[in-house]
């Protein structure tokens, strides 16, 4: 049995306490195979961090969990549903229970900060205009940007964009969050601010998450578990201390140990 065949064997839905279950995920683009059989389990309330060098497929991995990419082989389960088998409507319903913070914020640049967040509320809730306004202010207060509502994304700093992206991602009160390089390119103070917001989401709202990062400070603050991706495989998984002391040349190089 080949590697791909092995990974297509299903054992059914994961237990309820497992929020994300990725089994034998294989993904390639053209001739290049980026993920070569990834297994990842994230439990309820857990903050999992995926680390690794640039171009190792970390973002590719999480994009499967929200149906932005589909596996060549393997299974992707999120919130008890087989993501890669969902039809459009079911996938949309799943997406409404998740939040995704993109690397560059991915704010809609033709809309103000207020509209960026309000757009989602308007489409997916029955809230009145006043109620929507309150929810948006509440979200902006939460990310400590109370007065940025009327500004356009181009007028914000990198850190502010990420925080607005975070406010937008949590506006529908998701059960599961994905953060794609939430602190890349930020100064250490902003790294701490954004990381502490992620931590607060876990502690105050019990939101499980997968974070893609190569930022050690961010990982130190938020990680319950760390998975190190190299050449399409997780070469180490465990606590940050366990992973950072693994005697693998790539990990040593990455952590400078």
């Amino acid at each position: 049995m080949g590697e791909r065949d092995r990974h297509t064997v299903s054992n059914g839905a994961p237990p309820q306490e497992v929020i994300v279950d990725i089994r034998g995920l294989v993904k390639g683009f053209g001739a290049k195979e980026v993920l070569k059989g990834i297994d990842l389990r994230v439990s309820e309330g857990e903050s999992a961090v995926v680390m690794g060098g640039s171009g190792t497929g970390k973002s590719v991995l999480v994009k499967h969990a929200v149906g932005l990419l589909y596996p060549d082989a393997g299974e992707v389960w999120a919130l008890g549903q087989r993501v890669d088998k969902l039809d459009d409507d079911a996938l949309d319903r799943l997406r409404l229970s998740t939040g995704y913070v993109f690397q560059g914020g991915a704010l809609f640049d033709s809309m103000t900060v207020f509209e960026n967040i309000g757009f989602i509320l308007e489409r997916h809730t029955e809230l009145s205009r006043a109620e929507r306004k309150d929810r948006i202010h509440e979200a902006l207060d939460w990310v400590n940007l109370p007065d940025k509502g009327p500004q356009y994304p181009a007028e914000l700093s990198g850190g502010q964009k990420k925080r607005v992206g975070l406010a937008r991602a949590i506006i529908l009160k998701p059960d599961l969050m994905f953060y794609d390089e939430p602190t890349t390119g930020l100064d250490p103070i902003s790294v701490r601010t954004v990381s502490e917001l992620i931590l607060r989401l876990r502690d105050e709202r019990g939101i499980s998450s997968i974070t893609i990062t190569h930022d050690l400070l961010c990982a130190e603050i938020i990680a319950d578990s760390v998975h190190f991706l190299h050449e399409g495989h997780f070469v180490a998984s465990g606590s940050l201390d366990e992973v950072s002391t693994t005697p693998h040349p790539e990990i040593r190089n990455f952590f400078g140990t």
């Binding site: 994009k63 929200v66 149906g67 932005l68 996938l91 949309d92 319903r93 997406r95 409404l96 998740t98 995704y100 993109f102 690397q103 560059g104 991915a106 704010l107 809609f108 640049d109 757009f119 989602i120 489409r123 997916h124 937008r168």
Partner: protein, 268 residues
């Protein structure tokens, strides 16, 4: 020598394959439009916004184009018609050429230049900055929001702008005739519409809906499938304009051939 011939043959084959693959993708993208068009959500507000973008903001461009065509056509044709003693048919000839061909095609080409680049660059930059992915994960159906609205807007607005361009071209031709030979407006417009049939007006104006579809679907496709960065976005915008213009000419040949087959020509 043999090696270089073989490698250039391979290059040509791979270029042809890449072209065929892109053409196939574009056809699938267009098919996706028809498949999703019937499904919810209907983005009414965004459609109105896009119609405003396509229509209102192209108004001056098409006005200037139409008026100039009319004036220039009248100036250029008069001398030739005088030589053949056929000056009296100038309004007639002007109306026929403007309504049947120059108005629809030139309006569509001008709009392809403005909208093709605009749509290609806008959607392309949304793709490379992950804004389309952000719409997707927020369950906001980006294909409906970005593509269907723009395509519909172009299908609706292109004929309206074409009628406006045609009108201004005739007004331009008339003003030139007044200034050159003091022609009476009743004589000009009566002569102009003498040989125009309703089917000419309808078919030749409505064919621009097809051109609008082509411009929008090609431009959306180019933007939607961009990979890379700002350089690729620029290339997508440029390709959107070039391919739209080429396909407009090809579609024009097909539509004219079909309309001649169905309605016959003027003398028929």
């Amino acid at each position: 020598m043999a090696n270089s011939t073989a490698s250039s043959g391979l290059e040509r084959t791979s270029v042809a394959l890449a072209f065929a693959s892109r053409a196939g993708e574009l056809a699938l993208f267009a098919a996706e439009f028809f498949k999703r068009f019937w499904r919810r959500p209907f983005e009414g507000r965004e459609l109105m916004h896009q119609m405003d973008e396509v229509g209102t903001r192209s108004f001056i461009l098409t006005s200037v184009t139409g008026f100039s065509i009319g004036v220039v056509l009248a100036m250029q044709s008069r001398g030739t018609l005088i030589r053949f003693g056929a000056e009296a048919v100038l309004p007639n000839m002007l109306a026929l050429s403007v309504i049947k061909e120059i108005g629809p095609v030139l309006t569509s080409i001008v709009l392809a230049g403005r909208l093709g680049a605009g749509i290609g660059a806008e959607i392309g930059s949304m793709r490379v900055t992950e804004q389309i992915d952000a719409l997707e994960v927020a369950a906001l159906k980006p294909f409906h929001y970005l593509v269907i609205t723009r395509v519909l807007a172009c299908i609706i607005v292109f004929p309206i702008l074409t009628m406006w361009t045609d009108t201004l071209a005739l007004v331009g031709g008339y003003l030139e005739s007044v200034l050159s030979e003091g022609m009476d407006y009743r004589i000009f417009f009566n002569t102009a519409f003498e040989t125009i049939r309703i089917s000419d007006l309808v078919v030749d104006t409505m064919k621009t809906s097809i051109f609008g579809f082509i411009v929008a679907i090609v431009s959306c496709y180019m933007g939607y499938t961009v990979r890379g960065g700002t350089r690729e976005v620029g290339q997508a915008a440029m390709h959107a304009v070039v391919l739209s213009a080429l396909l407009i000419f090809v579609a024009d040949v097909v539509v004219v051939r079909l309309s001649l087959f169905i309605f016959g020509d003027i003398s028929g």
